[in-house]
């Protein structure tokens, strides 16, 4: 179930996925990125017509084309349009420094991310840097609470769950209490994404173009308290679970457990990330997954740092105790839970 290497290598061209509802300010942010690009050559792949015409930037319109891979994995969908467009971009002699993929408010971010796992040609040359979700501070809660028939996803919840970084836009339209409530609701779903507040989508370019969301050494440093949070979380809503375990894991057991977990619960687990200490491996073992697909790479050497494994799962109906027991079961010398 693993595909191309999504992680580490730095000579790959970074790709940023920009998602958000209509009206959240995506076009404003896109225009801002393109006008303040500071010499970076950026290619933009967009699903919605914008009015952008900037030198040194290439804007390509794409029609969202999601299809299933015929490998018996029901949630393994990819974006055919992106495979074609990225394939063409990668072969050009004049290279781009960065690729931005803008998705519509209703688009599912999973097929976009999964495309990087499933197509080896793309995975070998491009690096998914991060998924940025732009939200409208004044309307987010209304979108999150929007009732859906059973089995139908709430796109706003999904887009928050998938995000590596959230730009909380239009903060000037809400008061302090409302803002705090919006931040609380975001944190309930996704504890891992860092939230940048903005007015008129004004954020530092580096905050959106160099996220390293799929570079876990940074991503997991964001919220150390979260990793040891043992508050009981077990319901049908979308939440995040972080686990921190000292000691060393056995790679075979880890692969078995992760493989089985994602095969069984992959539909409900949107994102999984981890930096793990593996017995016999001097480097950090970095893994991450989108639904059922996951991929492991070698990260930085541990050196003198304490070998501690940290993993995060974001999804629906997560059972912290079960997840923790599972990871604990991969420890080289099993130790009973505290």
């Amino acid at each position: 179930m693993t595909g191309g290497v999504v992680g580490a290598a730095t000579d790959k061209v970074p790709v940023t996925v920009l998602t958000g509802f209509l009206g959240s300010g995506k076009t404003t942010l896109l225009n801002r990125i393109l006008t303040e690009q500071h010499g970076r050559r950026i290619a933009v792949i967009e699903n919605e017509f914008g009015e952008i015409g900037i030198d040194d930037a290439l804007v390509i319109d794409a029609e969202e084309e999601v299809f299933e891979m015929n490998n018996g994995c029901i949630c393994c969908t990819v974006r055919g349009d992106l495979i074609r467009i990225l394939g063409t971009l990668m072969r050009r002699k004049d290279r781009f420094d960065h690729i931005l993929i803008e998705t519509t408010g209703l688009a599912d971010p999973a097929p976009v991310a999964q495309t990087f796992f499933m197509d080896d040609e793309i995975g070998s040359q491009l690096r998914l840097d991060g998924i940025i979700t732009l939200v409208d501070a004044a309307h987010l809660i209304q979108h999150l609470d929007d009732e859906r028939p059973e089995g139908v996803e709430n796109e706003a919840v999904e887009q928050i769950a998938f995000a590596d970084r959230i730009v909380l836009n239009k903060t000037d339209l809400v008061d302090a209490d409302q803002l705090a409530e919006v931040r609380r609701r975001i944190g309930e779903i996704n504890r891992l994404a860092d939230v940048h507040e903005a007015v008129q989508a004004a954020v530092d370019l580096d905050a959106v173009l160099d996220v390293g969301g799929f570079d876990l050494t940074r991503a997991l440093d964001l919220d150390p308290a979260f990793m040891t949070d043992t508050e009981h979380q077990h319901d049908l809503t979308v939440t995040s679970v972080g686990i921190e375990l000292p000691g060393e894991l056995v790679i075979e057991q880890l692969n078995d457990w992760l493989g089985e977990l994602l095969a069984e619960k992959g539909v409900d687990i949107f994102r999984s990330k981890g930096i793990l200490a593996v017995r016999g491996m001097p480097e950090r073992y970095v893994f991450q997954g989108v639904h059922m697909l996951f991929d492991g790479t070698q990260g930085e050497p541990w050196g003198t740092a304490e070998r501690v494994s940290r993993a995060v799962f974001i999804g629906r109906d997560l059972d912290r105790a079960e997840l923790e027991a599972g990871l604990r079961g991969c420890l080289a010398v099993p130790v009973p839970a505290a």
């Binding site: 029609e63 891979m69 015929n70 490998n71 349009d81 063409t88 072969r91 002699k93």
Partner: protein
Amino acid sequence: MTTTTGERTAWRTEVPESVAAVSWSADDRVAVADLGGQVSLLDGRDGGTLDPGPVHEGGAFALAWQPGGDVLATGGADGRVGLVRTDRAEPGYVTVGGWVQALRWSPSGRHLAVAAGRDVVLLDAAGSVLARWVRQPSTVTDVVFSRDGSRVGCASYGGLRWFAVPAPGRSPSLEPVRVLAWQGSLLLARVTPDGRWVASGNQDASVHVWRLWSGEDAEMAGYPEKVDALAFDRTSRWMANGGTTEVHLWDFSGKGPMGRAPRTLPGHDAQVSALAWQPTGDLLASAGRDGGLAVWAPSAAGPARHRPRTRLDAGARVTGLSWRPDGSRVVAGTTGGDVLAVPA
């Protein structure tokens, strides 16, 4: 395959951007489509530059010389088909809409099928639109003709859909006359010269084949990567495909490839990215994503270990291979913008 082993190229030249397709004409011209959007026409004898060809803003992707004629059809990101006639200096254009990823002439050269986004457009040699089959299940990645030219096959997600070429003066039927369904994303399709089989290379690392008269099908799955190179030889017996670093050769004689193991031609260090059979003989040209280029004589040797008769380094990923119609040379185009002609 990273070193040149002594074979020399007949000629070598450059075009402005990464090559997307090459095609050698009966009158010894080489058409080269590049991702900068330029179609270049080169002299097949020495690689010298002839008149510039059509331009497709955003990238030129596809080329096809009319069989038995003198029209070059081109396509690209601008949603236009370029038509170059020997007797006219300026190329003509027909707007079809959508990315033109593939175009193919019918065996007689009377019709041109064009993959235009999610539509397939049928033109005559003068560029008049005869039919437009709209909204296929997904973007059309390839178009093929039946051997008699009466049907157009469209490859997209979900299989191959066949449409009838309308009789002169009749309006086209918009419903497919046949659907070879298969749940997968087809990247390219090829029909055997004898018209008995059609095969597709697929995104999910497989090859699918159908016997056209019965619809009986089979799948060769389990390749390490997507299969984006596939070609039948002139005798309709051998299918070569990529998807891995070896060229796989499947025997279609008799009952077909079902139940048979493929022959393998090991010799590339990277995924096979292009394949072309000699139109006059039994040679096979193959190329890899690393720029490795090889010419094989697969039928000369038994199933024992094959070695290429020619191998060299093209310098960058080979994205197009095309033989000179007399079979004496093969031309390769690379993502580095190099175009090189190699003696057989």
